[in-house]
């Protein structure tokens, strides 16, 4: 469908450095090429100039390109267009980059940029972001820790219908809050704004719906397997924090139980807990018998002061290197470690070995269903500038706490609050914005090779019952990855067709030449 495009260009030469005569030349050059009308308008700066655009005759055009000399971020609000033109079909072209000096070349570049935009627009379908209203009004919190409970309470406090899904029994009552206890979330499906969570509650499979899902990650105990033939008692760090007393002889805190096993990958210890524990232990006047063996003393920020307090009380901090890991001496309660600073091997009396707690990654299958981009090790990684804070690639799925990776305890509280405030803002908005450009599959061409299903970072591509790939438009973000990889060329981005791309490339080549 080719439509008439009206090109508007301001004669305000103040920003462009192009004179009135040049502007008229540009317009005459454009009118030779373009099928629609070309209009000279007054400057776009200022509220009045924008309003005057409403009365300009557009000669039956139903879409428009506005060439703007000032940088785009300055003008802010879009100009008011004549009624015959849909605001979604107005393309504003920033010409500030094509107008450094008034020369012939620049005039050509300007004409090129404008005709390219007009060509693109004449092919385009109305680019409208779709508002998809939330089918559900509820927010689901998945997690069993104290933080998950606190998050659910806060969300309910701000008037949002909240559900908390947790494995253990909990007798909690609050307005707007529904407790789905003794249940395990199995799988998450659906589109943003209308998620379906299937869960097993007391052995019975049920389903619940939610517009937003908050996953609160937890820590779990490391696999504490004391080495064979040693009498060393191994205590998980978090249990030690609850019962600090009862230790007699030497006590060794280690940052990573895997340190004794040269093959295992290191885990990230809970330094906050570890340092508080050593500080507490040092108060029981056992400080001389306490040693902390670690790769690095990760007392970041003001934790440094806790570390200092423990060190001044007499707790020994010993650093080791990955190449010279500590060893448990056979038959004795001794741990040998090569101190990096002294350069000597030290033998530590260790009747009790306090081991760290590690983060528990989500089950791979669960992540698969959550459309969260994950690494090879299936730890969900979503914190990146592109994705925003603690958000998954799917609008409405939020990750907090240890879901992403290990962090200090005092970093989690702000993360949780910031996520809650984002959920509140999202729920008040009441709708999810579907992208204008979405991928579409021509079923006849699809060879069911699963390439798009594997590639889509948003898990929007699925295989239907008749073995043809389909793209769920509401999940699609229009990134174009599937278009690029499809071996049968069965996928196209709607609103951005192949002839259009070809024309755009041709136009840009012209400009470059």
């Amino acid at each position: 469908m080719n439509s008439k495009v009206c090109i508007m260009l301001s004669d305000c030469g103040a920003c462009s450095g192009i004179g009135k005569a040049d502007t008229e030349r540009i317009i005459s050059m454009l009118s030779q090429e373009s099928a629609g009308s070309v209009i000279m308008i007054k400057s776009l700066c200022g509220e009045d100039a924008r309003k005057n655009l409403q009365d300009i005759p557009v000669g039956g055009c139903d879409r428009a390109v506005i060439g703007q000399w000032c940088p785009a971020e300055r003008t802010g609000k879009a100009p008011k267009m004549p009624k015959s033109i849909d605001p979604a079909l107005v393309d504003i072209v920033d010409l500030s980059l094509t107008s450094d000096k008034a020369s012939k070349r620049n005039i050509e570049r300007t004409v090129g940029a404008l005709s390219q935009a007009a060509a693109r627009l004449s092919l385009a379908e109305p680019l409208k972001e779709r508002k998809i209203a939330f089918a559900s009004k509820a927010v689901a919190v998945i997690g069993s820790s104290e933080r998950a409970v606190a998050a659910a309470r806060l969300l309910a406090f701000h008037g949002l219908t909240t559900k908390i899904i947790m494995p253990q029994t909990h007798s909690m009552k609050a307005k707007h809050l529904e407790v789905i206890d003794e249940s395990n979330a199995q799988c998450l499906s659906g589109i943003p704004g209308n998620f379906k969570i299937s869960l097993t509650r007391k052995g019975v499979e049920t389903e619940t719906d939610a517009a937003a899902v908050l996953l609160v990650g937890e820590r779990c105990f490391a696999d504490v397997n004391p080495p064979k033939d040693s009498k060393i008692k191994v205590i998980p760090l978090e249990q030690f924090a609850e019962h600090p007393s009862g230790a007699v002889g030497g006590m060794v805190f280690i940052d990573d139980l895997n340190a004794f096993n040269s093959k295992a990958a290191p885990v990230v210890p809970a330094w906050h807990t570890l340092l508080e524990a050593t500080k507490t232990a040092a108060k029981d006047k056992l400080a001389d018998n306490i040693a902390v063996v670690a790769r690095d003393v990760k007392a970041a920020g003001l934790l440094e002061l806790v570390w200092k307090e423990a060190a001044e009380a007499g707790v020994k901090f010993i650093r080791y290197d990955d190449k010279t890991r500590p060893k448990i001496e056979k038959g004795e309660n001794l741990i040998s470690v090569k101190d990096l600073v002294l350069g000597e091997t030290l033998y530590l009396q260790a009747d009790v070995l306090v081991a760290p707690i590690t983060t528990r990654p989500w089950e791979p299958v669960f992540i698969e269903k959550l459309f969260i981009p994950s690494d090879w090790d299936f730890k969900a990684r979503s914190r990146g500038p592109q994705r925003g804070i603690s958000q998954s690639s799917c609008d409405g799925v939020f990750l907090v706490g240890y879901s992403n990776f290990a962090k200090l305890t005092d970093e989690i509280e702000p993360e949780l609050s910031s996520t809650i405030v984002q959920i509140i803002a999202m729920m008040r908005q009441g709708y999810h914005i579907g992208k204008a450009a979405v991928a579409e599959i021509t079923e006849a061409k699809c060879s069911a090779c699963f390439t798009c299903v594997r590639t889509c970072p948003y898990r929007a591509a699925e295989m239907n019952d008749s073995w043809k790939a389909v793209i769920i438009a509401d999940k699609c973000q229009g990134c174009g990855n599937c278009v690029a990889v499809c071996p049968s060329k069965a996928i196209e981005l709607k609103n951005c067709t192949r002839p259009q791309i070809a024309k755009e490339i041709a136009a840009s080549m012209e400009v470059v030449m």
């Binding site: 990230v268 990760k298 920020g301 500038p385 990776f405």
Partner: protein, 408 residues
Amino acid sequence: MSDVIIIGGGPAGIGAAETLLSLGKTVMVLESAAFAGGVPLDLSCKGDVECTRCHVCMPRDSGSRMANASGLEVVPMAAIEGSSSKDGGTEFKLKISPRYVNIGKCTGCGKCAAACPVIGALVAPPHGAVPNAPYINSEICQHFTSKKCTECAKVCPTGAFDYDEKLKTAAVQGKAVIVATGMDPIDPTGVQHYGYGYLPNVLTSLDAERIIAEHGEIRRPTDGQKPKKIMIIQCVGSRTTKGGVEYCSKFCCKYGLRFARALVERVPDAQVDFLYMDLRTFEPRTEALAWIGDRKNFTVSQGVASVIQKGANNTLLVRRTTASDATIEEGTYDMVILSVGGQPRPETKVLAERLGLKTDSFGFVVSQDSWRGVFVAGSCKAPMDIEESFTDGKATALSVLSHLEVKR
């Protein structure tokens, strides 16, 4: 009366402002510098080849997203002269320094910056700065020093320049206040054995960033050549009782490693040695160090540099301990970059006293007054990196929301 007044337009202030705007509140940001945006405006992206999650772009993008939002008012170059409780809110008396550019008229076209004959007299806004308009440094500008130069006003298409602008006073009121004044970098002049200040090739990380911003690459200040051997020393000014602060500044490890990596990528033939006390990055250890792999021109080692001396041909002689066998080693370097920590700003203490907030011995704000609607966000509470203070700003927005909406 605005709903919320945010003091400080750094990452925390911008994070809070963006969140509150999305919740439909009116926000006023008071900023002491000419542009809101904070420290990230001075830093370069560390992901030349692939994203290293340095988060420099995070507050910048956020700033340019909300620059045109209705309900936002940014007051740059403002100093707080006094505060009082008024009508269930807080009133601030401000002194606003002259900018000599009308922000409403400026279109940000950048013609004036090209026309200005004195370097640094007309400062153009970096990407993501709010407001997107330049300002005139009246100490250097020839209009004020000698010649009555009006080059910038001549080229300005909208007539935005006003050389007669005077110091203004204003009173602003808000129902809630967020203190987000942030941190200052520590001046390593106090660490005398590193020779910062009199050895020109010893730079702080921020100096190096400035050179990169100016030339697009790292250069030696003495001869303008690309350095062949660079050492990055961590924990300068932090974790010390001599010429610095006792606590750990927390952001320098993450920053320093990423900066070193960016240097190696930008200057492939240079040798970069990275010297740290403890690596306090909380990404899994493998992630932070995996990139280094078996790269020969990038070493990461534990140890402390004891002294930096002048060598031949503008080189620097660094004596340091090596942790692996506890010996002392000497090396010659073309350039030494000191990764400096941060400390609370002295103004924060004055402001905290005015608002009735407590500060600790370092100057960090340790209390907030949610009853009167005075909240604290970002690195004026404790050392934080960019992403953390951005998150903390957003988190504070939740407390502010409760204060504004929930009846007591």
